[in-house]
Subunit: 430 residues, 2 copies
Amino acid sequence: MKTYNYPNKNKWTLLSQRPILNQNDLEQTVNSILQLVKKNKDEALLELTLKYDNVKLNNVKVGPLEITKAISIVSMELKTAIEQAYNNITLFHESQLETESKVIETTTGVKCWRKSVGIDKVGLYIPGGSAPLFSTILMLGIPAKIAGCKDVILCTPANENGNIDPTILYTANLVGITSIYKVGGAQAIAAMGFGTETIPQVYKIFGPGNQYVTKAKELIQQNGIAIDMPAGPSEVLIIADQSGNPEFIAADLLSQAEHGSDSQVILLSNSLKIIDDVKCELIKQLEKLPRKETALGALNNSRLILLKTIYDCIEFSNIYAPEHLIIASNNADKYASKITNAGSVFLGNYSCESAGDYASGTNHTLPTNGFSKNYSGVSVDSFVKKITFQKLSAQGISNIGQSIEIMAEAEGLFAHKNAVTLRLNSIRND
Amino acid sequence: MKTYNYPNKNKWTLLSQRPILNQNDLEQTVNSILQLVKKNKDEALLELTLKYDNVKLNNVKVGPLEITKAISIVSMELKTAIEQAYNNITLFHESQLETESKVIETTTGVKCWRKSVGIDKVGLYIPGGSAPLFSTILMLGIPAKIAGCKDVILCTPANENGNIDPTILYTANLVGITSIYKVGGAQAIAAMGFGTETIPQVYKIFGPGNQYVTKAKELIQQNGIAIDMPAGPSEVLIIADQSGNPEFIAADLLSQAEHGSDSQVILLSNSLKIIDDVKCELIKQLEKLPRKETALGALNNSRLILLKTIYDCIEFSNIYAPEHLIIASNNADKYASKITNAGSVFLGNYSCESAGDYASGTNHTLPTNGFSKNYSGVSVDSFVKKITFQKLSAQGISNIGQSIEIMAEAEGLFAHKNAVTLRLNSIRND
């Protein structure tokens, strides 16, 4: 982990850069997977699952017996924990739903409003790998249901025995997912984007994944399928003043670092003592971690930066545009109002990132890689489209008709003008 | 224009298909323009403007004198019309801004909220061509300003004399656009996406355009630049019962058809008489249109479909997912609640599409090509990102800490668990 003392402002953009991934051949490989699934559908899924996941399946759909069995296996302790998270995430996301349409009468007789309608068919992707990411099912499934999406399907790879982790099945069932399929990687994205005999086509695809999944989501957009957001490795930036707790800060940096060796963690502080103390704590805590090697890899991409003031730290952070931003300070509330680019912000010494990752109620599917400059994290908004409505009375079209005629004529659109003229004439003749 | 009487339901998806555009070589051509601008910046813009627009410019930036002159040229009548539209669009879009953060205490001591922050730098593209589309400047510039975007720049091609239509400059100035540049086509998208010596890089690009512009917007996303939505030719679908007015319906179909020969217009009705009467009106009104040839081209892609009931028409419309939907009926309000896929809906005989195109207050930048299944039209939402915040007190982390520990451990993320454990220990020891 490199330390930078008072770097010049003209270096900040450089220090805000993420590690660049080598993506040679990725597009070609992923494209060939997409085309194979488009052509051979279920047959291609079984073939690719054997090839990449080393499992021979006869059918990708999870049956009701597998779900019932999973529900009985998950421990009561874990179920209770998941339930608390479920309740908090539900409470926060329910507050995001626009239930009533605000009708605005822009001119007498001209009423405009909009209505949120759930996207009919959405697909969630949950990666496999070393651990079952059931928390992401809560983060995607709960807002999908609140939004009113009718069909919410889920794809996740089976393990070497052809099974899915019971906690995944339990959580999917809890949030009301319609159908679950054993398919992972780019082939899962292809299946949901094109549809197969077994897996229905969806209109929008959500969820994290490795670089094959990410590239597949990027490419599937060219077929008119929407995605949640572009993705990149996870990251945290911590701003700490002398009231920050070095032990907590080190733990938060490590909890991001253990996600993957491509993760990035950054500490900004106006206190050299905090930076030194965090370094000591990092070494101490790192020793005890099961994922020590992974965390160490991530720390190599990472930076401890000493700046003159906390306002400098905030300015740097807004340039970096972090996915997660922790403000480890007793004055966090005061600084929060200056944040313009971030996915999710954690205020004060007790607001650790893992609270938001699991159970505070906010969503953990967030824009990485600087995308918090132009994208929001997942929310109920991500699962609806907003339709606008307008209703003009005879008085309404009389009040704005002439302006429309003049503007349409100035744009050379005479049929647009005529649609108004005919109505104005008809009202005059009544 | 083809008529279909009571087509079988299994034909509806086929009848909902849009004309397919031939896009051979398009990606390669556009990609080479993007790369040239990325490499040679302003020099490339001047070169490409000479090549494609046949104008030799020395500088792409519009100066203050050009704007002052434009303001003096635009007629008072047109200014007054634009001002009425400006006021209505402002009223409706201001109602979309979330000004206060609803704080949700999901568990005692765990507070979550979110805040809308304008995207710092946005770029608007306004096409040139046969008419100055100043109305689109209102539709993009007004929500950008309401959202609080700091830099709002605009690119639009100059005419053969190197000038921009005065109404474009007048409207851009009215809505408070920071800088205006004389550059069009894929090169304008490249300039805003990569930045040049003169044109600053932006984080999100908005606006309509031909297939080169559309492809450039699609490709620029791979560089982390967001776009408003995927685009396609404009379209209207009208649902009419016997209370619809055939003269108005024909005028509305034609006002969409005059946009371009690739536009699509569809009429659904449960009344054969309405369909026959609309056909007669179309022939009568078409004769008088300056853009007769264009409209005729669009009518060739278009369909008049007789169905048994208005509810069948609504079901068809939801499959088609139109950009503009007019419900030409005295019972429009009743039917409106059944609409699940549409960009903007016009209710009743006095709500013509051109009202929404110019001055009712709703936005006219809408999802085409069936994208209203999964995308919303432009609104203030399009110009903000929503940042989530959370603040946990000692009591808050005590209340949810154990659930986080259990879930993190079940996901194999021990550093996530440890970030909570250290805090819980510290509280117990206090």
